[in-house]
Amino acid sequence: MSGVLVIAEHRHGALRACTREALGAALAHGSDVTTVVLSDQPERIAAELDGVAPNLTLVEHPALADYNPEAYLPVLADLVGSLAPELVLLPHTSQGMDLGPALAGRLGLPLITDCTAISANDDGLVVRRQAYAGKIVETLVLRRADTTILTLQVGAFAEAAPGLQSVTVERTVAELSPRHDRRLLEYVRAAAGDVDIGAADILVAVGRGIGKQDNIALAQRLADTIGATLACSRPVTDAGWLPKSRQVGTSGKTVRPKLYIALGISGAFQHLAGMKGADTIIAVNKDPAAPIFKVAHYGVVADVLEVLPALAQALAR
């Protein structure tokens, strides 16, 4: 049990940047790092890992063009079995959330999800992760295991720096033995909305703290007054109060406005990942420990419904 195996992630024929973060985490942990690329054209994906991945295992099969756990699982189960790495790392994405637990379950290995830091001490492996929607940090010491699987929070680890010399490449052609007939039929892009929140200079974004659908009008009025576009976090779309096209976050849109005003948004990491690049962030939330205050430049600990009318008055002056 030594070394780290990184499972590369790609979509539409291109490497996803979160793979480089997983490599960064792997190389920070140890130098014996292997990256496995499962694809119909693994060379093409691997070319994007030039100089950052020391050892590559390329697994080729037409059925690996797109992610499907039924194709991935038998290949990865064999590879983890033969390499017996200390760690298997994969991003905590829609793919990693689907694949990680299945691989752990199939091999009977421990899995810790959504990790934000990895270290080791005399007792064993120490990982940090978030719980309670980012309001609590858990530090976990793990029992020594043959192999431990970790999914990594996107944005938590620095990307591997390029410049590595020795690259070893192993090529195999996969023999697939899917157990179930799960099949990808097509990718579906969400319909474009009435406005493009990605193009706005100022966004007023509402979250669960806005309370009810009727209160959205208060935020819309603020947006109208200051020439902003209305956006929202996931709970607001889930409740059907605003269309999905207004949602900021990993599953929706990533935005970089000049000013982002977050109203009643606590700041799950999926939301933060979509807006932390804004030039100025103002957050209003009742909970002083809300994660949104970590990325905000200015914060107001108060009820949004009290701040909105007072701000309207101040702006009218």
Partner: protein, 263 residues
């Protein structure tokens, strides 16, 4: 279609300021309201809708202490037909792998076509149990599902990916599907509705009923040997605006003007 929904009782935390207990191993829950995990609520609603469209039964199942029974009553009030409660002091501290193994013990000998549960729970945020259960049963699965359609013995589901993209996936039954929030609009549950199902029997299962030993469950069976909780580091965080509401609003208005708003 015989559907099983897994639901978890969790503290409501979205507006709450959390406190860590003296041992540093958990949060103080005394002042928090317990309720059904938000994602599981969507799963219960989806199960009831599928039964309304295709017939069959919905069985809701939870693992948790006595108080977790409220989650089952709530699901029954939403339209679930039966409820199973895995309740034993020995279960406390079980990790997702153990929970999945216990659920599999219950379901292995029953006729089940579809298992639904939330993508994750709002307390632990593990996002593991559903997929691990699929592995225990040897079934197919799909996660992060935002739409379910059924034609015969096959489901067609939408999985939520990143950046406004979904994938449409075909999935034969039996299967486990983890439901993403927003898949439907869960029906309202009234106090009266819950009172109406008060008489329904809930199947209670403990360690002995499941044929597992005490050493196979609970914190001792977990890969985690030590857990310590802390509040997030807030250094480098926002400058908090203080003063009266009028002061704060005035300051906010200035910030908005500086950033080009109102210009």
């Amino acid at each position: 279609m015989q559907i099983v929904v897994l639901a978890k009782s969790v503290p409501e935390i979205s507006e709450a300021e959390l406190e860590i207990n003296a041992e540093g191993t958990g949060i103080e829950t005394e002042d928090l309201v317990l309720g059904i995990n938000e994602w599981d609520n969507f799963a219960v609603e989806e199960a009831v809708r599928l039964r309304e469209a295709h017939g069959g039964t919905v069985t809701v199942m939870t693992l948790g202490d006595k108080e977790a029974e409220d989650v089952l009553r709530r699901a029954l009030a939403m339209g679930a037909d039966e409820a199973i409660h895995l309740c034993d002091d020995a279960f406390e501290g079980s990790d997702p792998a153990t929970v999945a193994r216990l659920f599999a013990r219950v379901l292995r000998d029953r006729k089940v076509d579809l298992i639904l549960t939330g993508v994750q729970s709002s307390d632990a945020n593990n996002a593991q149990t559903g997929v691990l259960l699929a592995q225990e049963l040897g079934w197919g699965y799909a996660t992060l599902v935002t739409k379910i359609e059924r034609a015969g013995e096959t489901l067609t589901v939408h999985r939520e990916l990143e950046s406004d993209t979904e994938e449409r996936v075909e999935l034969p039954l039996p299967a486990v599907v983890t439901v993403q929030s927003g898949i439907n609009e869960p029906r309202y549950v009234s106090v009266m509705g819950i009172r109406k199902v008060r008489g329904k029997t809930i199947e209670q299962l403990g360690l002995g009923d499941l044929g597992v030993g005490e050493e196979q469950v609970g914190a001792a069976s977990s890969a985690i040997t030590r857990r310590s909780l802390s509040l997030p580091d807030t250094s480098g965080a926002a400058e908090l605006l203080e003063g009266t509401l009028a002061d704060i609003s005035h300051r906010l208005a200035t910030l908005v003007r500086e950033a080009g708003g109102l210009s």
